[in-house]
C-alpha cells in the first residue's frame, strides 16, 4: 500500500476515497446516493477493514447502490426480494463477516417481506437498510407497499391501500435494533449506522430516501421537503467508541440515556421525547402506531433489545468461519464411517 500519500488516512491506513465504489448511475439527487455517501463516511470514520465487510442487496435502484461504496469489500447483488436469504447464507458460511444489506421498500415490503421477517427471526449479523421511497424506482414509479395511503402520483395514480410500516414489522419479527431516519439528515443516518454496525445481530434501518424521479412532490411524506419540515426526532443521537468517555452535557430536555452496544461502544440518546423508552417493546410499538395515526414522521432509535443471541451463537458455530475450517474438521475419519455402517448390517 502507498505509504507516501498526503491525504488523510484513518487507523486502517485508508483514505476516505478508498471506501468509495464505482460512480453512481442513479439519478442526481436520489436519496440513495446520499445514504451511500454516509456509509462511506462512517466506514472511514470507524476505520473499518473492508475485507471484514460483505455487501448484499436485492434488486432495485436502492439495491444497485452497494456498487457505489466500499469497493474493496466483496459484494453480492442478489435477486429481487431475496437478499435476506443470500445474506443469511453468506453469514452462515462466514459469521465473522459484518454484512451491510441494502434493500428497497419494494424489495423488502412486497416481494421480499417473507424473507425479511424470517431473516430478522434468525438474527444474523447484518445492518439491514431499507432505502424507502414509497415507490418502485427501477420499474418507473409504481406504488410500493410503504406508499402512504391516499397519496396521488402522476404515474401510479391514487393509492387507497394502507401503508406497511417496516419498523413495526421488524419489531414484530423480533428484531433487536430498529430505527428510522431520513436521507436528508446525514448526521442522524451516520450515528445510527455506527450504532447498527456495533450490534451483533440484525440491525434494521428504515431510511426515508426520496425518489426525485417519481415521488418527490412537496406534499408526499417521502419527499425531501416533507422530511426536512416534518421530521420529528425522538432523540438526538451520538455514537461513542469503546474507549471514549461519555461527556455529559447540560440542559437536556428529557434527560440523557446511554445504550450499551454489543461491541463495547455506546449510543448516547438525548431524549427529545422525554417519556419514550426504546428498550420497552410495547412502547416502541405503540409509538409507531400513534405516529401512523397522527401522520408524524418520527425518526431515531425506535426499538433496542440486545438480549437475543445472534445466529452464530445460537447455532453454536466455532470461532473460525465454516468456510475456513480445514478438511480434517469436515471429513470424519474412515473409522467413523465404519462405525455408522456397522448399524446398518
Amino acid at each position: 500500500m502507498d505509504r507516501t500519500r498526503t491525504v488523510a488516512s484513518n487507523a486502517a491506513g485508508l483514505t476516505k476515497a478508498e471506501y468509495g465504489g464505482t460512480p453512481s448511475t442513479l439519478c442526481v439527487g436520489c436519496g440513495h446516493n446520499s445514504i451511500a455517501n454516509q456509509i462511506i463516511q462512517v466506514a472511514f470514520e470507524l476505520s473499518l477493514k473492508p475485507h471484514e465487510i460483505v455487501k448484499l442487496s436485492g434488486i432495485g435502484c436502492s439495491s444497485k447502490s452497494p456498487a457505489y461504496f466500499l469497493g474493496m469489500s466483496h459484494g453480492f447483488n442478489a435477486l429481487h426480494g431475496r437478499m435476506p436469504a443470500v445474506g443469511s447464507g453468506a453469514l452462515m458460511g462466514n459469521h465473522t463477516l459484518r454484512a451491510i444489506g441494502v434493500s428497497g421498500d419494494g424489495d423488502t415490503g412486497s416481494i421480499g417481506m417473507g424473507q425479511f421477517k424470517h431473516m430478522l427471526r434468525r438474527n444474523v449479523r447484518m445492518v439491514y437498510l431499507v432505502e424507502n421511497n414509497g415507490v418502485y424506482g427501477l420499474t418507473k414509479g409504481q406504488f410500493s407497499a410503504t406508499a402512504d395511503e391516499g397519496l396521488d402520483l402522476k404515474y401510479a395514480g391514487h393509492n387507497d391501500l394502507p401503508a406497511i410500516d417496516l419498523c413495526l414489522e421488524a419489531i414484530a419479527a423480533g428484531c433487536g435494533f430498529v430505527a428510522r431516519s431520513f436521507a436528508g439528515d446525514a448526521k442522524q443516518v451516520r450515528e445510527l449506522l455506527k450504532a447498527a454496525l456495533s450490534h451483533r445481530g440484525t440491525a434494521f434501518l428504515d431510511i426515508i430516501s426520496p425518489c426525485v424521479a417519481f415521488n418527490n412532490d412537496d406534499l408526499s411524506p417521502k419527499s425531501y421537503a416533507y422530511g426536512r419540515d416534518r421530521k420529528s426526532p425522538l432523540q438526538e443521537l451520538g455514537w461513542i467508541p469503546k474507549a471514549e468517555e461519555i461527556v455529559l452535557e447540560q440542559g437536556d430536555p428529557g434527560g440523557l440515556s446511554v445504550v450499551e452496544l454489543h461491541d463495547g461502544s455506546r449510543l448516547k440518546l438525548r431524549r427529545v421525547e422525554a417519556d419514550f423508552d426504546p428498550t420497552d417493546r410495547n412502547a416502541s410499538v405503540q409509538r409507531l402506531m400513534v405516529a401512523a395515526q397522527k401522520q408524524e414522521f418520527i425518526t431515531g432509535l425506535i426499538h433496542y433489545d440486545p438480549s437475543r443471541p445472534s445466529f452464530a451463537e445460537a447455532a453454536r458455530l466455532p470461532e473460525a468461519p465454516l468456510a475456513a475450517l480445514p478438511d480434517d474438521r469436515l471429513r470424519p475419519p474412515p473409522e467413523a464411517l465404519e462405525g455408522v455402517l456397522q448399524r446398518y448390517r
Binding site: 477493514k49 459484494g75 431475496r82 458460511g93 463477516l97 465454516l322 468456510a323 478438511d327 471429513r331 464411517l337
Partner: protein, 616 residues
C-alpha cells in the same frame, strides 16, 4: 402390468400330487392402514430375510396422509438377487378398506394371510387362504388401548414366520436392531409374535409352496435408504451449511443428515462444524445455499419437484454468477403437486435447464445407495470445482425405501475446493473474477474475508465483464456466455462416466438412469434366457460424456427407458445428438409405481423384434 405365474405354484397339497416347494423366491405385499405402526412389523420381516442371507428389498407404497389411509408394503425375496418391484403372489390382508381389491389382485394360486376379523365380500377358491384370529390373539396376550392396533400388526409377523420358516430368534434380533436394542420394546412386540406363531404352529396346515432358507448372499452388505446414504455421503463430503424446507420425499434426507452431523461433527461442548437451518421456503433455502457458496462454504439443500420449481430464479443466478451449491431433488410425481408420495423421474429436463434463458446444470443420477453415498460427497467437490449448482436427482423409491448395498467406500480423494485464490495468490497473479486464465472456462474466485483489496468483486446475475463489472456490451455478453459453454464442456470430463454393458452382437441398446435399472436388468436376463440380447447404458450424469454418443453409434436402435410421460431423456439425447436422433426410440411411462421386469420386457419386445426383423 401382467404377472407371469410360472414360478407360482398352483394350490399345493392336492391329493396325489407331490407338493411344489418354492424357496427364497417370494413377492409379498402387506396391506395395512397408514399410521398403525405396520412399518415396524414390515421392517422386522425385511431385516429377518436380510440377516438370513437372502437378497431382499422392500417398497413402501403409502398415501399422502398421516393416519387412516391404506398403505402397502412390498417385500421381494429373491435368491438370484433381483430386487425390482414384482407383482405380489402373497398377500397379508389387514386393511378392511382394501381387502376386496387386494384379494382380487392376487394371481390364481396366490396366498392370502387374512385378518379373520374382517369380512371380505370377495371369495376366491383359487387362492390359498389363512385366516388369523387377530382379536383373539390380542386378547390372549392382553393387549389393550392404544397399543392394540400396533400389536395387531405383529400377528402377521408371527404367522408368516411360521409359514415361511423364519426362526423367531432371527425376528427378535431384527426387532432389536430396529429399536436400537431397547429390549423393552422388543419384548413387548415379541409377546404377540410368539403367541401368533404358536397359534399358527398349532392351527394352520401349511398349504402354500413358499419357504425361506438361509443363504450367504448378503454377507458384508448393508441395508439403508437412499436418503440416509446421500446424507451420510454429504457429511463425508464436508457439508457445512444445509438450509431446507420440509417436503416428502426429501425430508428424511435432512433428518438423516442432522443425525449424522450431530454424531460425527459436533464437539462434546456442543460446538458444531455445520449448521442445518429450516428456512421459510425453498426460495430461501436455495438463496442461503448460494450465499454460503459465495462465502466459500460447502452447502446443500434437499427438496422435491414443487420446491425445485420455486428455486428456478436462483438456479439461473447460481449458473450465471457461478456459485457452487448442491441441490438434492428426491423426485415425486408431478405436474403441479401431482402424486406426492409416488415415485417418478419427471424432473430431469426441468432440472437440467432450470432458470430463465440459456441455463444448463450438472445433474447427477444415482441408482443405488452406494451411488447416493458417493454422489453425496462428489457433488460437493464438483460444485466447488465447476463453481456452479449441482443437482442430484434421486427419487422417492430410492430415497425412502430400504435397499441392500455394498459397504460404502471412503472417499478416495481429498476434498476438492476448486480454484480459490488467497491473499498471496491474488498479489502474485492479479485477479479478475471471470478471467479465463486456464482456458477451460473455469475461472478463479476469491472469498469474502480475503484481506487483499484486489480480491474484492461484486457478484451479480446481471451482465458483467471479465472483471465482474456491470456491462451491457454485446461483446462482454458473448464472451461470457461462450466461456460458460466452454466450461460446460470441461464439466463433461468431470462428471461420472456411464455404466456401459455391451452385449456381444446386440443391435439394440437400452439407455436408462436411476432406479429403473433394476427392472431393466432383470428383463435383460429374462430375455437373454429366450436368446434375445440387448446392451445397456446407465447414465450417471448430465452433461453427456462422449460415452453416450459411442454407445448410440454402436447400436442400430437405442431405446431410452424412463419413468415420465414425455420422454425427457430421449428428448435431451435427440437434441444433443441430432445426427443420431432417428435411432433413438423411447419407452416413457409413469403411473406412480416403480417398473417391474415383465413390464419392461413387454415394452421392449416390439423394438427387439422389429430390429430382428429388419436385420433378417
Amino acid at each position: 402390468m401382467m404377472t407371469r405365474p410360472s414360478r407360482t405354484a398352483s394350490a399345493a397339497g392336492e391329493s396325489g400330487k407331490e407338493p411344489i416347494i418354492v424357496v427364497n423366491d417370494l413377492a409379498l405385499v402387506v396391506a395395512t392402514v397408514n399410521g398403525t405402526g405396520s412399518q415396524t412389523a414390515n421392517t422386522a420381516l425385511l431385516r429377518s430375510f436380510f440377516s438370513m442371507g437372502i437378497p431382499v428389498h422392500g417398497k413402501n407404497i403409502f398415501p399422502s396422509n398421516i393416519q387412516g389411509l391404506p398403505t402397502w408394503f412390498h417385500i421381494r425375496v429373491d435368491k438370484d438377487g433381483y430386487i425390482a418391484r414384482r407383482d405380489p403372489t402373497m398377500l397379508v390382508a389387514y386393511n378392511a378398506q382394501t381387502i376386496d381389491a387386494d384379494l382380487r389382485a392376487l394371481p390364481k394360486g396366490g396366498v392370502a394371510v387374512v385378518n379373520g376379523d374382517l369380512a371380505p365380500s370377495v371369495q376366491r377358491d383359487d387362492l390359498i387362504t389363512y385366516e388369523v384370529p387377530v382379536k383373539e390373539l390380542l386378547r390372549a396376550t392382553d393387549q389393550k388401548g392404544k397399543l392394540r392396533d400396533y400389536a395387531a400388526n405383529m400377528t402377521y409377523v408371527g404367522v408368516l414366520a411360521h409359514l415361511l420358516d423364519v426362526p423367531l430368534a432371527v425376528v427378535e434380533e431384527a426387532l432389536a436392531v430396529h429399536f436400537g436394542r431397547r429390549q423393552k420394546l422388543v419384548d413387548l412386540n415379541m409377546v404377540v409374535i410368539r403367541a401368533s406363531h404358536e397359534w399358527a404352529v398349532a392351527e394352520l396346515e401349511k398349504r402354500d409352496p413358499y419357504r425361506v432358507e438361509p443363504m450367504d448372499a448378503t454377507d458384508g452388505l448393508i441395508l439403508m435408504t437412499g436418503n440416509e446414504a446421500g446424507a451420510l455421503g454429504s457429511v463425508f463430503g464436508g457439508v457445512t451449511v444445509a438450509p431446507w424446507y420440509p417436503i416428502t420425499p426429501s425430508t428424511s434426507f435432512i433428518d438423516a443428515l442432522r443425525e449424522y452431523l450431530r454424531e460425527l461433527r459436533q464437539k462434546e461442548d456442543g460446538e458444531r462444524s455445520y449448521t442445518v437451518v429450516q428456512s421459510e421456503d425453498e426460495l430461501s433455502a436455495i438463496g442461503m445455499v448460494l450465499g454460503a457458496g459465495f462465502a466459500g462454504a460447502r452447502a446443500l439443500t434437499a427438496t422435491s419437484g414443487p420446491g425445485l420449481s420455486l428455486m428456478t430464479e436462483f438456479a439461473g443466478l447460481g449458473y450465471f454468477a457461478e456459485i457452487p451449491g448442491v441441490i438434492w431433488d428426491v423426485q415425486r410425481v408431478g405436474p403441479s403437486t401431482g402424486l406426492p408420495t409416488r415415485t417418478s423421474q419427471g424432473d430431469l429436463a426441468f432440472a437440467y435447464t432450470l432458470g430463465h434463458g440459456d441455463t444448463k446444470h450438472i445433474v447427477l443420477l444415482p441408482s443405488s445407495i452406494e451411488e447416493c453415498f458417493e454422489f453425496g460427497w462428489r457433488s460437493l467437490d464438483l460444485a466447488d470445482q465447476a463453481q456452479t449448482p449441482v443437482f442430484v436427482l434421486s427419487d422417492l423409491d430410492l430415497g425412502m425405501n430400504t435397499w441392500m448395498g455394498r459397504s460404502f467406500t471412503y472417499p478416495d480423494a481429498p476434498m476438492e475446493r476448486g480454484k480459490v485464490m488467497n491473499e498471496e495468490e491474488v498479489a502474485e497473479h492479479g485477479f479478475g473474477r471471470y478471467v479465463d486464465r486456464d482456458g477451460d472456462g473455469i475461472t478463479y474466485r476469491t472469498l469474502p474475508g480475503n484481506p487483499n483489496p484486489a480480491s474484492a468483486y461484486f457478484t451479480r446475475g446481471t451482465g458483467h465483464n471479465a472483471n465482474a463489472v456491470y456491462s451491457e456490451r454485446a461483446e462482454d455478453w458473448l464472451e461470457n456466455t461462450e466461456r460458460l459453454s466452454r466450461k460446460f464442456d470441461t464439466i463433461r470430463e468431470l462428471v461420472p462416466a456411464s455404466e456401459v454393458d455391451v452385449a456381444p452382437g446386440a443391435t439394440v441398446g437400452v439407455i436408462a438412469f436411476g432406479t429403473t435399472r433394476y427392472a431393466i436388468e432383470e428383463a435383460r436376463d429374462r430375455l437373454a434366457k429366450r436368446g434375445i440380447h440387448f446392451s445397456t447404458l446407465r447414465l450417471k450424469a448430465l452433461p453427456l460424456r462422449p460415452d453416450v454418443r459411442s454407445f448410440v453409434e454402436a447400436h442400430d436402435r437405442v431405446v431410452v427407458v424412463e419413468m415420465n410421460r414425455d420422454a425427457q431423456l430421449a428428448g435431451i439425447l435427440r437434441a444433443e445428438l441430432p445426427d443420431l436422433a432417428p435411432r433413438i426410440d423411447s419407452v416413457a411411462y409413469l403411473d406412480g409405481m416403480p417398473f417391474t421386469a415383465p413390464f419392461v420386457e413387454e415394452r421392449l419386445t416390439p423394438f427387439l423384434m422389429r430390429v430382428a426383423a429388419e436385420v433378417a
